[in-house]
């Protein structure tokens, strides 16, 4: 028992160490370019963790999550530009709106399985993009169609979620990421987490054991779309410019799924691991081949995905977790006398 405690202590210490490093990084790393890359990395890890509630735990493959990013970004931006409402409040409004849309999308599509569900979510996501692109005014709200919306960088500060340096954005998205990781961790160990996994893997068996599979999936979808929309507001405030083609893009929906599948869907660490591995690929291929081979990163992702699915169908988190546990057990061996 005493030995077990030290092993747990070691795990907590290494988590703390990671925490100190990530929170201390901006003190050392002064380059705005690198901070920008890290902010996007955390953003994608956050988005993928939110996606994971449905795509990982509930075992379906949603490919339209960019729509929720868009709902979040447009809600807070319109409320701020037209009514002067703080983006923090707009963030919550966007989240609630996205949750409602998520439920509306989920109601018919969760009855479908496999590729049909994935295709249906692509259709919804693209449908929302095309609508935004072609609507200048939605009632009183100015969407500005294909031209997108620009947020003038006035009245910067925390209340308007707008800053002239990268550091505040870095800390905000880092805190959001830690929060969503904690949330997925608790859900995965809760009744809802068990029910989602069971319903995803063997729906008939789950139903016979008392699981209302459709309702659990809808709850997960509502949470997932709510959380995804929050990131949309963050992104809008980070770039101060939103544009239907770039924010409600299929490219974004796909990248989230790639990160999840390669990192390991359904696990807590998978989305972070996937983002750590794939974001640099994305960034560098855009920087160096953006003009000559603009889709290169997606081709690389596709190739990596094929390899990972052949050799590690549960994603890269599995072998890495195994190595980590081996290391942990080597550092603190099992005390004699216990099992």
């Amino acid at each position: 028992m005493g030995e077990q405690m030290t092993r747990q202590n070691l795990q907590i210490s290494s988590l703390l160490l990671v925490g100190i490093i990530t929170f201390g990084l901006p003190l050392v790393l002064r380059s705005p370019t690198y901070l920008h890359i890290l902010i996007l990395l955390y953003l994608y890890a956050y988005l993928t963790s939110s996606w994971n509630l449905v795509g990982g735990f509930a075992g379906v493959l949603p490919l339209g999550h960019a729509a929720f990013v868009g709902i979040g970004a447009y809600s807070s931006t319109i409320l701020y530009l037209q009514y002067g409402i703080s983006p923090w409040l707009g963030m919550i409004v966007g989240g609630i709106l996205a949750a409602i849309v998520g439920i509306i999308i989920g109601l018919p599509t969760f009855k479908m399985r496999g590729a049909y569900f994935a295709l249906a979510t692509i259709a919804f996501g693209e449908g929302i993009r095309v609508m935004v692109e072609n609507i200048d005014y939605l009632g009183p709200f100015n969407l500005n169609g294909p031209r997108g919306l620009q947020i003038p960088p006035r009245n910067v500060g925390l209340t308007n979620l707008m800053f002239t340096t990268k550091e505040p954005y870095y800390y905000i998205i880092l805190i959001m990421l830690v929060a969503v990781l904690a949330l997925t961790y608790f859900i995965s160990r809760s009744k809802l987490g068990y029910y989602l996994n069971a319903g995803g893997e063997e729906p008939e068996a789950a139903m016979s054991l008392g699981v209302n599979v459709a309702r659990c999936k809808l709850i997960a979808m509502a949470m997932s779309s709510f959380l995804t929309a929050l990131a949309g507001t963050f992104y809008a405030q980070f770039t101060l410019f939103i544009h239907p083609k770039s924010i409600i893009s299929l490219d974004l929906s796909f990248e989230i799924a790639f990160i999840a599948l390669i990192g390991g869907r359904g696990s807590i660490a998978g989305p972070v691991l996937g983002a750590l591995l794939l974001r640099p690929v994305s960034d560098f291929s855009r920087i160096y081949f953006g003009a000559t081979l603009p889709g290169l990163h997606l081709i690389i992702f596709g190739t990596v995905l094929v390899l990972v699915m052949i050799y590690q169908p549960r994603g890269l988190q599995e072998p890495l977790t195994r190595v980590y546990h081996k290391l942990l057990y080597r550092l603190i061996p099992e005390p004699a006398g216990t099992e």
């Binding site: 160990r189 809760s190 009744k191 068990y194 029910y195 996994n197 069971a198 893997e201 063997e202 008939e204 068996a205 789950a206 139903m207 016979s208 054991l209 008392g210 699981v211 209302n212 599979v213 549960r314």
Partner: protein
């Protein structure tokens, strides 16, 4: 008291009548055996009772309440649990995880569900396999896991669909003991089984169906000697020659 009653239960699949005007009832605390040749409609009857398909005609009563169109998860909450003939474990998850899904039917906290599940695994002699991935279990253990999960929901009526198929004789004997113990603990058991030795040893009452229709019923000795039953089981072979 009747815990389950089927009144003229009929189920059609397109033009095929899988269950045909079936009437039967089970007393609280009884073990009822349902037998019949392959394709007789046994599993279909179970699926209707458990809420997988609504009956085409007829009524199903559980504890005196009509449950014709009730959903499987609600039936589970009312105390009706079942196993699947083709086992459906959550393969990527551990044995304990599988059973905990069942335990959550009556528990909200993880710790309570885990405690309950460990008790059940112990009862079914599966506790030393609790951390094994369900997909890696032997067929005998998978069948046992089906029962463990169903028991975890704390049922009053348990439907067992061929839980002994594919087991070795010693494993069959163990399973017979397990089912008898379940009845001792107050659970009513409705069992489909092809292994005659087991069904004869277990059942208080046996119903025989053929092409969806009831052709005989009675205590095991009577059914075993029934001419219609013998014909139904041997008929196919005579027909071929």
């Amino acid at each position: 008291m009747k815990i389950l009653e089927l009144k003229n239960l009929t189920k059609d699949f397109g033009g095929l009548r899988a269950v045909d005007n079936l009437n039967l009832s089970i007393d609280d605390g009884q073990i009822l055996g349902l037998i019949g040749p392959n394709g007789a409609g046994k599993s279909t009857a179970f699926n209707c009772i458990a809420g997988v398909y609504p009956p085409s005609e007829g009524d199903i009563y559980f504890n005196g309440e009509k449950i014709n169109n009730e959903k499987p998860w609600n039936l589970c909450k009312k105390g009706l649990a079942r196993t699947f003939q083709i086992v459906k474990p959550f393969s990527s998850k551990s044995v304990l995880y599988n059973v905990m899904v069942g335990s959550f039917a009556n528990k909200d906290k993880r710790a309570d569900a885990e405690k309950k599940s460990l008790e059940i695994l112990k009862y079914l002699h599966l506790e030393d396999k609790k951390d094994i991935r369900a997909g890696n279990l032997t067929i005998a253990d998978r069948k046992r896991l089906e029962i463990a999960r169903a028991l975890a929901t704390e049922p009053r009526l348990l439907l067992l669909d061929e839980v002994m198929a594919g087991l070795r004789p010693t494993e069959v004997d163990e399973m017979v003991e397990i089912i008898k113990n379940l009845r001792e603990s107050g659970i009513t058991v409705f069992v489909i089984e092809h292994i005659m030795r087991a069904i004869m040893a277990l059942s208080d009452w046996i119903v025989v169906i053929h092409f969806g229709q009831k052709i005989a019923e009675g205590i095991p000795e009577t059914v075993a000697a029934d001419e219609n039953v013998i014909k139904a089981y041997l008929g196919e072979e005579y027909g071929v020659s």
